[in-house]
Symmetry: C2
Subunit: 191 residues, 2 copies
């Protein structure tokens, strides 16, 4: 019988040797942001999931337990922060479809929010994954808005893959950062 | 027996005719931000409370219920957004003490976060309420940081009221916006 050390696995160990295949968009962006932060490139964080807390228990000698809560519709986007002195704000969406990205993935108040951000001088966009193709695009807000507005006229409720090919920007992947989306931001907003 | 309508009170109705006395700092800031947003002055939102969701039930024909969750330590501040094209970030704290504001109200990673924000060109500060005096101060981050750093040397774990009087900025109150904190921001960061 040898020594039995309790070996604690860090949660990220499982992921490190995996390809991006199977890693969800949120994790990829969070890891990229962590790298950008540690390397002093940008301070960008994911906002916590909005939850309406209804009931909280306080068991003796242990911490508070939330025993009833509900998911709330987010009023803003998932990510914001600062990059090269500018306010940056975006929403990240996974897309499992083959030919188009359905607009119903986006909440109307997220459109309003991004509009406000741009009006006030910030940088706003979406990051959309095309999971079937293993591709990640930065979709400038104005392109998204054009399809959003047109959907009320022509009834088309999605953005075709072709439009991503032509008017969105493929994000390069790497080991670290996973998604080099700030390279695209550099090209689009700082040149 | 008359008609018994189930009268639903909106949560804010209770507040509207009340003086600020008793209105908590978070509500006052949220209402101010709402006014700033609607009047196109700034886009500043409170981040949702970070919660670790452990168990979710999906009862038939009704929405998902979170039945086990825990409060998480926030890794950033409560509020951020954009004002006059600049990234703005702050933490809000209530203080019930008479002579000093205890530094233990602030998490170490919130200090780190605000330091990062300022390094990247953003505006960072704290809003501290002195509930006994019904006073609200904007405390510039550098003043807070000075007391934070000194606490490791001189052991003083709080910022005295006198320091607020001398080095923080009293925020004017009004009907709308409740807390005119962007007036102080104008004075401090845009002049």
């Amino acid at each position: 019988m040898g020594l039995n050390f309790p070996i604690k696995k860090k949660p990220q160990e499982k992921r490190i040797n995996k390809a991006n295949l199977g890693m969800d968009l949120e994790t990829m962006i969070n890891e990229s942001n962590e790298w950008y932060l540690v390397n002093d490139k940008a301070v960008i964080h994911k906002k916590p999931t909005p939850v309406q807390i209804v009931k909280v228990d306080y068991p003796m000698r242990s911490k508070a337990v939330i025993t009833e809560a509900y998911y709330k519709t987010p009023s803003t986007t998932d990510y914001n922060g600062i990059y090269k002195g500018r306010y940056i704000d975006f929403e990240a969406k996974e897309n499992h479809n083959k030919t188009a990205f359905p607009l119903k993935n986006i909440h109307p108040h997220q459109i309003t929010h991004l509009e406000n951000i741009i009006k006030h001088g910030g940088i706003g966009f979406l990051i959309v994954s095309w999971n079937l193709y293993n591709e990640y695009y930065l979709l400038p807000f104005d392109v998204c808005k054009e399809y959003w507005d047109n959907s009320y006229k022509d009834g088309r409720q999605s953005i075709p893959y072709e439009a991503f090919k032509k008017r969105a920007y493929l994000i390069k992947e790497g080991f670290i950062p996973r998604l080099k989306y700030l390279d695209v931001v550099d090209e689009l907003y700082f040149k």
